[in-house]
């Protein structure tokens, strides 16, 4: 496991990011954004405003019209698909609304996938599963789990290889409020424990409350919203 290395450059920087859909609708227009190390932001906005697109652009999964995304100071958008893929597997972690836990691998195997892709030993996956409260259930299959448990597995998978940046797309969208609360607590705790930066796209104010700051995406740009006190702890 690599220690999170202290870095002078910000974990994520977007410069003049622009994107329009095939239909001609402009989603992002010269978006600028900087995320410091260990910082956890929530991005909110109306449906279809381009929140997921922003995440995809940051992850190198979609192509921008112009602008640049820097992760740990490294430009993403100019990378080839293979290099972007390598950058993704080393420096990024993902949490999705639909969990996307691989159904035919055990929990342990699911969590170990990022380690294996980075050619690392898979054993830390055990500790990671324990850290998300699923210790000892490494041999279970995903179909035996509840939604909350699946999302815990996803969080473990997103963090196991100590990425620099976590991207979470509506992580609690499929969960009931109680479970959502537990999952967000876990997510925040783990992000802070690994000192990763995080961008969470969400509709939920309750979820946004777990972030260090909340940004609103509208008209192709991000706007700071007054910082709220973190949820009761």
């Amino acid at each position: 496991m690599r220690p999170a290395k202290p870095s002078a450059s910000p974990s994520l920087e977007c410069r003049g990011l622009s994107k329009h859909y095939g239909s001609g609708r402009v989603v992002l227009a010269g978006l600028d954004f900087v995320l410091g190390e260990g910082e956890f932001v929530a991005v909110m906005g109306d449906s279809g405003v381009g929140k997921s697109t922003l995440l995809h652009l940051i992850a190198g999964l979609d192509v921008a019209d112009s602008g640049e995304v820097l992760i740990d100071g490294e430009p993403v958008l100019s990378l080839s698909d293979d290099d972007a893929t390598r950058l993704r597997r080393q420096k990024l972690g993902f949490v999705f609304q639909a969990f996307h836990v691989l159904p035919h691998l055990t929990l342990y195997q699911n969590v170990a996938v990022p380690l294996l892709l980075n050619n690392l030993s898979p054993t830390p996956a055990h500790d990671m599963l324990a850290a998300v409260g699923l210790g000892g259930r490494g041999n279970d299959m995903p179909r035996e789990l509840s939604g909350g448990e699946l999302q815990r597995v996803a969080i473990a998978r997103a963090l196991v290889h100590r990425p620099r940046l976590i991207l979470a797309d509506e992580p609690t969208g499929n969960l009931d409020p109680q479970t959502a609360h537990e999952v967000l607590e876990l997510l925040r705790a783990e992000i802070k424990a690994t000192r990763a930066a995080a961008v969470m796209v969400t509709h939920s104010e309750a979820a946004a409350a777990f972030a260090d700051r909340v940004l609103i995406l509208s008209q192709g740009a991000l706007h700071d919203r007054a910082r709220k006190a973190t949820a009761a702890r």
Binding site: S52, H56, A59, L61, D62, D81, D82, D83, T85, R86, R88, R89, Q90, F94, F96, A98, H100, L102, P103, H104, L105, Q109, V113, P114, L115, L116, L117, N118, N119, L120, P122, P142, R143, R157
Partner: protein
């Protein structure tokens, strides 16, 4: 910062994912494996059976020439023995062994016994295996004129032990011989007898005749040069053979048959490849989100391609290994139960044993793996090309299959395929014809998505305008908009139905042509022949007169059938001397094209009518002037016509019996066709003929029997074809089933949604059935068209090139409609069964299973 391309981590991951695939889709993987196993197994079995039969047949043929360096034979079956001392005393020859071979009929046996007349003193070193073993008390039996030595299987066949007496039919009279012992070594199943050469000459009235003289050359003599010098000295009436020619002849005789069998078997494998493609493509569609997630997590495109190919390759390997085992077992069983003859009749009288062949096994194994890899390649590339972000959303199936819609490669395949059909054969094998068939098949399958979309869009538009029922409308809408998936299912139907139609048309065309040919040929009331497979003397003129004098006979046409060797490397051609009306040969033979009228012959020329095979194999043309090893040197012959022959694919020549008698002085007859007087029955006449002194040596049949026998033989020859056809159909249905069930599962969401908006389960099932029905119907229609195209290639390219005869086209509509209906029904049933599972699945579970 970049990690090695494949480290331990990736290897572990690959293993885990293979395990996961196996756990989750065991059934589908097994079906794919079994399909490949069937294809590989069938191909391998056919190869093994043919190979074993061929090798055994060659070995048996070779054992008859033993240690000989060269063999001198007559172009006709027998040659004058005067050549023997000339050869024996020739410089460079260390040993010469004369042999007189006769195929002898036995009372109550349908096949003949090959009896070799040999000089034991001369044969000892030349053909040590064939040395006769007398009892130690009667060494001189090797010279005795009543002693016959039999191979073990000949003894078993005749049920004769040493000391027993057996009766042979020598020409037209019975000869009783004493079984005086065995021969030193015979191949299993080889039925031969050995006698003193003088005894064979006298018993079979072949004084002065030899079949061949085997030669051993002195050390240091250049065998090829010696052979050429000798051949040029001997002229065309005698041929000098090397042992390798035996193999060459056996090879040529059966090559087309063996290759056609192998190609048929490989078609099953091709269908298997399609199933792997369907399985893998469906898998890629079904797992698009999982694959996208792996991409998000950091799997490169190459990693993904490798993973999917690995899966496919393993399926191929498993199927291949299974197929090799299966093929070996089938071959061993078939050889034990049916013998080496797959119905083609090319390898009589041998008992081959199947032998494991490492190289051939490796090739078939690789074929299995290659087919599976090829089937996985397109889906793998598709999966790698997919953008992960959209793939994480539902409903992206069609994106994954979009490139199948590009028409140009498919059209190129079709064009090249048609062009290949016009290319001549390579080394007697219609390679290009097979290539053309494969390309048409591939091109048509690749063109399907576009066609599906076109047809169903139009149909859908019309249907919407007419406000039909919900299920039909939904089905057409889906088919119109999801051509990629639809085409996978249809490809299975298309390929198997096309193959079935092609085979059915080919076999029917052939069978009908043979029937017409028989009807043309069988104009007499009774056909008779001297029961003797070989070439020994037939009926003498006085015996012929006795036959003609039998009451109730209006006319007897006698014929003399023998063999001619025109090229040592090729099997001999048949020479048939019979009554022929030179002005109207079509009355007796089925002529193709024009005939040369007697007015166009030059004086002194003898007309011969050549079979179609002579045109292909020896380049004969109508009106060609040539010399033949018949009669004296310098006789001129002219090809007066080309006729169709479905019996002798190695070639046959017909001439007037009067010409034959004039040229050769041979007035005997081996065959006769009898026309009866009105008011007599065939049975009466046959009875009377059998009462002649030589009646036992004659065999009679009536046109009906001949027809029935010929068609039975025909059907037996094609029995394996029917089997292969059935396998292709089963594999095709497998493919349909696999595609529909994966799609049905993938569409559980869609079905759930439809139910929410108020569509009933019954309607959904009706929609599925309608979809499958429409799709299969289109597949069948296209398969029919494609099959017809392929059958044209089979009938007009592959068949003439392989067997050197032409056939005319006949389409068995009833059979095709029947198979089409069966296919339609079975694919609808499969689709509904698969859909039923999907519809009854609850939404959450569907999400878990499928996301």
């Amino acid at each position: 910062m970049s990690t090695p391309k494949t480290g331990r981590g990736l290897t572990t991951l690959a293993r885990w994912m293979l395990g996961a695939q196996w756990r989750s889709h065991r059934g589908r993987a097994l079906v794919a494996m079994v399909t490949i196993a069937l294809g590989v197994g069938l191909g391998y079995a056919v190869y093994l059976i043919n190979g074993a039969a061929f090798n055994e047949f060659s070995a048996a043929a070779r054992s008859l020439s033993g240690q000989a360096d060269l063999q001198v034979r007559g172009a006709q079956p027998f040659m004058d023995e005067a050549i023997y001392p000339r050869l024996a005393m020739r410089v460079g020859v260390t040993a010469a062994s004369p042999v007189l071979e006769v195929d002898v009929a036995l009372p109550g046996k349908s096949t003949t016994l090959k009896v070799l007349g040999m000089d034991a003193f001369r044969a000892r070193r030349m053909t040590p295996d064939l040395v006769s073993i007398p009892s130690s008390q009667a060494m001189l039996d090797v010279l005795a004129d009543d002693a016959l030595f039999l191979s073990p299987s000949a003894k078993a066949w005749l049920g004769a032990q040493d000391g027993a007496h057996v009766t042979l039919l020598g020409g037209t009279s019975p000869i009783t011989l004493r079984v005086a012992g065995g021969i030193l070594r015979a191949r299993p199943g080889q039925r031969i007898g050995v006698m003193d050469i003088a005894a064979v000459q006298t018993h079979f009235h072949l004084q002065g005749k030899l079949s061949h003289v085997d030669l051993q050359l002195a050390r240091g003599v250049d065998s090829d040069a010696f052979r050429q010098a000798l051949q040029s000295e001997l002229g065309t009436h005698l041929v000098v053979d090397a042992p390798s020619d035996v193999e060459s002849r056996t090879d040529r005789l059966s090559r087309a048959y063996r290759i056609n069998m192998n190609v048929l078997a490989l078609m099953a494998l091709f269908t298997g490849a399609f199933l792997v493609f369907a399985t893998q493509a469906a898998g890629v569609v079904r797992q698009r989100a999982q694959l996208a997630m792996l991409r998000v997590l950091g799997m490169t495109r190459m990693d993904l391609v490798r993973q999917i190919l690995l899966e496919g390759g393993l399926l191929g390997l498993g199927g291949g290994v299974l197929g090799i085992a299966l093929g070996f077992m089938v071959a061993a069983l078939a050889l034990r139960v049916f013998g080496g003859d797959l119905g083609g009749g090319y390898f009589p009288g041998v008992e081959p044993r199947v032998a494991f062949e490492p190289i051939a096994s490796a090739i078939f194994l690789l074929l299995g793996v290659g087919v599976a890899l090829a089937g996985s390649l397109v889906p793998a590339l598709e999966a790698a090309k997919a953008q992960p972000a959209p793939a994480l959303k539902a409903g992206s199936e069609e994106l994954a299959l979009a490139p199948f819609g590009t028409p140009w490669p498919a059209l190129a395949c079709l064009v090249v395929g048609v062009a290949l059909a016009l290319v001549p054969p390579v080394n007697g094998v219609p390679v290009a014809g097979y290539g053309a068939m494969a390309l048409l098949l591939v091109g048509a399958i690749a063109l399907m998505p576009r066609l599906t979309a076109m047809v169903f869009r139009r149909a859908s538009a019309r249907r919407v305008a007419r406000q039909g029922n919900v299920a039909t409308m939904l089905a057409l809408a889906r088919l119109a908009n999801a051509p990629g998936q639809a085409s996978i299912a249809m490809g299975g139907v298309l390929s198997s139905f096309a193959l079935i139609v092609a085979m059915a048309i080919m076999v029917a065309s052939f069978r009908v042509s043979v029937e017409h040919w028989l009807a043309h040929l069988l104009s007499a009331d009774i056909y008779g022949r001297v029961v003797q497979g070989g070439d020994a003397a037939g009926l003498r003129p006085d015996q012929q007169a006795q036959v003609a004098a039998v009451g109730g006979i209006a006319h007897v046409a006698f014929a003399r059938v023998s063999r001619l060797t025109l090229d040592v490397a090729k099997p001999p051609v048949a020479l048939i001397a019979r009554e022929l009306d030179a002005a109207d040969p079509d009355a007796t033979l089925q002529m193709t094209g024009n005939v040369l009228q007697p007015t166009s012959w030059h004086s002194g020329e003898t007309p011969v009518w050549a079979s179609e095979a002579m045109v292909d194999l020896y380049g004969y043309r109508l009106g060609q002037r040539l010399e033949l090893p018949v009669g004296g040197r310098g006789e001129r012959f002219v090809v007066a016509g080309i006729w169709r022959d479905y019996v002798r694919q190695t070639g046959a020549l017909q001439m007037r019996v009067a010409d034959y008698r004039r040229l050769t002085g041979d007035v005997s007859a081996t065959d006769m066709s009898i026309t009866l007087r009105p008011s007599t029955t065939a049975t009466q006449v046959i009875h009377a003929l059998k009462k002649l002194p030589f009646g036992d040596a004659l065999e009679f049949s009536q046109p009906g029997e001949i027809r029935a026998r010929t068609l039975t033989t025909f059907d037996r020859a094609f029995a394996v074809t029917y089997l292969l056809e059935a396998v292709a159909m089963v594999i095709g249905l497998f493919g349909v089933g696999a595609t529909f069930s994966t799609q049905a599962l993938a569409r559980a969401h869609e079905f759930g949604m439809l139910r929410h908006v108020g569509v009933t389960v019954r309607q959904i099932l009706a929609m599925i059935a309608a979809e499958a029905g429409w799709l299969t119907l289109l597949g069948i229609a296209m398969g029919c068209a494609l099959g017809f195209a392929i059958s044209l290639i089979l009938v007009f390219v592959v068949n003439p090139q392989s067997f050197h005869w032409s056939i005319s086209l006949h389409v068995p509509w009833a059979e095709i409609v029947m198979i089409g209906c069966a296919m339609l029904v079975s694919s609808c049933v499969t689709a509904v069964l698969a859909g039923h599972r999907a519809v009854s699945m609850d939404a959450v579970r569907a999400v878990r299973e499928d996301w």
